[in-house]
């Protein structure tokens, strides 16, 4: 008697649409059980975790601040993952984008012009693209697995940033502490509203709209989808796999870099040894929870954003551990992957059929 997975003859379309909702529901239920086990009223705890963060204008603004980079990176990754290209290194592309964009205010601190901010955003995007070009090149020229190269380049980028802010780019008036100079008003993103919401949120919305149209309505978007779903068909159709790799890494790297410079020129306001609490990695959850669809990614970004803010509320109001956030994010990813697996496969008990059909059980 054993448990095994049998591939379903066809995937239910309805189920793939609602699977993230099931995953969220299961996360909430599992969360309620955890809260109850810690001796809390589960309903009140869930309210404080998921609802309270959106009950005041201030916290909604903070939610937007937190969500903007997740969505910017998440939509880029969604395009990439659609093509079965696994860019796991968005965190590194974000870091290099931030470095490239911040080079303007740090190297030319007194250059006050309306050109400064656009140039920073442009350099940020190009920086992210350049960092993403490395795994793309290695993949196309040498067939190197892009999961490993993009991931390892994250650490290289972080050490580069670390070296810069402790060395050549350190604020000369900062008592040797590892920080760059603070950016001036003309070197920072304009804010929208009374709080900390900045131009990055608008850029995220634009990116969502553009990529939605791109994926749904253009030949290139079609190429990317076919290239991921049916690589052989794409090859017969004359679509170049290596061009798709370049394009996907370019888009996702560029958006991650843009998110990086938006963080640095927005809420952070200077270069520091750590400029992101792992947005590049959390955006992977966002992309999957968003079904790799740009519009749904926007909603998924909000869900993950709430999980951060809710973790803080829970600590302050309920006095429970700060690890709650990670527990919820982990459960969410687990349930999404579990739901997706069960859409493709069905659980079987008992003996596997003979070797003749074994080949059909391999994941595509």
């Amino acid at each position: 008697m054993r448990l095994w997975l049998e591939q379903r003859p066809e995937r239910s379309r309805a189920m793939s649409v609602i699977s993230p909702l099931i995953a969220i529901a299961l996360t909430v239920i599992a969360g309620a059980i955890i809260f109850a086990a810690s001796g809390l009223d589960p309903l009140r705890a869930l309210f404080i975790y998921f609802v309270e963060p959106v009950t005041t204008l201030w916290s909604i603004e903070e939610l937007i601040v937190k969500t903007a980079p997740l969505v910017l990176i998440g939509v880029g990754l969604a395009v990439c993952f659609r093509a079965n290209i696994w860019n796991i290194g968005a965190e590194g592309q974000l870091t290099v984008g931030a470095i490239a964009g911040a080079s303007v205010p740090i190297l030319a601190p007194h250059w006050d012009s309306f050109l400064v901010l656009p140039l920073m955003l442009l350099l940020g995007t190009l920086g992210g693209m350049a960092w993403a070009a490395v795994p793309a090149l290695l993949r196309n020229r040498f067939g190197v697995n892009e999961i490993l190269t993009s991931l390892m380049l994250v650490y290289v980028a972080q050490y580069l940033l670390d070296w810069l802010v402790r060395g050549p780019w350190r604020d000369p008036g900062g008592y040797n502490f590892p920080e760059s100079i603070e950016f001036q008003a003309w070197q920072s993103l304009p804010t929208l509203g009374a709080g900390r919401v900045h131009l990055g949120a608008l850029l995220a919305l634009i990116a969502v709209a553009l990529l939605f149209v791109f994926m749904a309505r253009t030949l290139k978007g079609f190429e990317i989808r076919v290239s991921g779903e049916a690589p052989r068909a794409a090859a017969f159709g004359g679509f170049s796999r290596s061009r798709t790799v370049w394009l996907c890494f370019g888009i996702s790297g560029g958006l991650a870099g843009l998110a990086g410079i938006c963080e640095v020129a927005g809420p952070v306001g200077q270069l520091q040894p750590s400029i992101s609490p792992g947005y590049g990695f959390i955006a992977i959850i966002v992309a999957f929870l968003g079904r790799l669809n740009p519009v749904v990614v926007l909603l998924a970004g909000l869900v993950l954003g709430i999980s951060y803010l809710g973790g803080e509320s829970a600590q302050i109001v309920l006095g429970i551990s700060g690890k709650t956030t990670q527990v919820f994010q982990g459960m969410l990813l687990f349930f999404i992957l579990a739901c997706d697996t069960l859409i493709r496969y069905r659980l079987r008990f008992g003996r596997r059929p003979g070797a003749g059909t074994a080949g059909a059980e391999q994941a595509p």
Binding site: W58, G193, E263
Partner: protein
């Protein structure tokens, strides 16, 4: 449109603030960089918070947020605490400096206390302890107890506070054995047990038989015990984690400061200030001297007493830089300004400072 949004936000803000200010107890909030169970830096701040609850519990209520990343998240977390009604906020990591200043500008009626930074304003004070006093003492013990004459130092970030600690340790050691050597490994984290353990193992492998640490977990001292060498705890008494290895530990004692500052807010006498207290004020305390012969313990107790009474200064001259240049001569000691910006090693440290 932008103006309207701003007005609406302002209105909501004022409503929210009045909504929570009905409580008559003073709410004192703490922002922590690590988990309260790190048994190091954050743990000792939380011990201070508990002491505050214990002593002023009828007049104050405390709240904390742990493991808050330094950077923009800190600004949100601090604002959140203030919006929840906190009247006094302690932000306990260097990276919270700019966020603390920014939030303090928006809430002029709330008092803020930032640990280890240098930026102050009308409603932001700073405080830090003179840990280097304890590091001089453990340097002396290290030189007495080491057979190889080499200590390994697990360091966090190359900021002045940490460099100062390494130098004080070295000067203490040299006062006993002028040829003593210190190896340094930077783990670039305040709390990363895995990296801290690796760093300790590497240096023990290179001949260090004493492990000192300026990171917050118990991993280095536990590694020392596993490998059969000696070491020092950090921030709290870590004797339970390494009963055979711990010689002593430099304990951060924040409680009295937290009680005094909170009392000042209650009395209405709170003013922005810059506090740098040490053994004399009881902010730095040595754990019992264990795993060493009586004469070494007596020497350590004697040095501690001399530093406490002011008869001895850890940075008394003559002091030489790594390159041999004399920084200060006989009969004088380095002043606080030099100590606060220290970014050079004293002679004998076997490491190049990351610049």
């Amino acid at each position: 449109m932008k103006k309207m949004l701003a007005m609406a936000a302002g209105l909501a803000l004022s409503l929210a603030v009045t909504a929570v200010s009905g409580d008559d107890k003073l709410k004192v909030a703490f922002l922590y960089v690590g988990p309260i169970g790190d048994h190091g830096w954050t743990y000792t701040h939380d011990q201070g918070r508990l002491m505050l609850e214990d002593q002023l519990g009828d007049k104050v209520e405390t709240v904390y947020v742990e493991s808050v990343p330094e950077g923009p998240d800190a600004e949100r977390a601090i604002t959140r605490l203030v919006r929840d009604g906190a009247g006094l906020v302690f932000t306990t990591s260097f990276g919270y400096m700019d966020p603390t200043i920014k939030v303090a500008e928006n809430f002029p009626d709330v008092k803020f206390e930032h640990a280890t930074g240098y930026k102050r304003s009308d409603n932001v004070s700073t405080y830090i302890a003179r840990f280097y006093e304890g590091r001089y003492v453990i340097g002396q013990i290290a030189a007495k107890m080491s057979k190889s004459g080499v200590a390994g130092y697990v360091a966090s970030f190359p900021i002045p506070e940490v460099v100062r600690g390494i130098n004080a340790f070295m000067l203490g050691a040299q006062s006993v054995n002028p040829d003593f050597k210190v190896k340094v490994v930077w783990v670039n984290s305040w709390f990363d047990p895995g990296k801290e353990k690796d760093a300790a193992e590497v240096m023990i492998g290179q001949g260090a038989d004493i492990i000192a640490q300026h990171t917050d977990s118990t991993a280095p001292i536990q590694t020392a015990q596993e490998k059969g060498v000696l070491g020092f705890g950090q921030a709290s008494d870590m004797i339970h984690f390494a009963p055979k290895a711990q010689l002593t530990s430099i304990i951060d004692n924040w409680g009295p400061y937290y009680v005094a500052r909170t009392q000042a807010v209650l009395d209405g006498s709170w003013e922005s200030s810059d506090t740098w207290d040490g053994m004399a004020e009881g902010m730095v305390v040595m754990a019992p001297f264990t795993n060493m012969p009586d004469d070494v313990a007596a020497m350590a107790a004697d040095t501690t007493e001399k530093i406490r009474s002011g008869a001895m200064h850890p940075f008394a001259g003559p002091i030489y830089r790594q390159d041999g240049e004399m920084v200060i001569g006989e009969g004088e000691h380095l002043d606080d300004g030099v100590l606060l910006g220290m970014n050079w090693y004293v002679k004998g440290v076997d490491d190049e400072l990351p610049q």
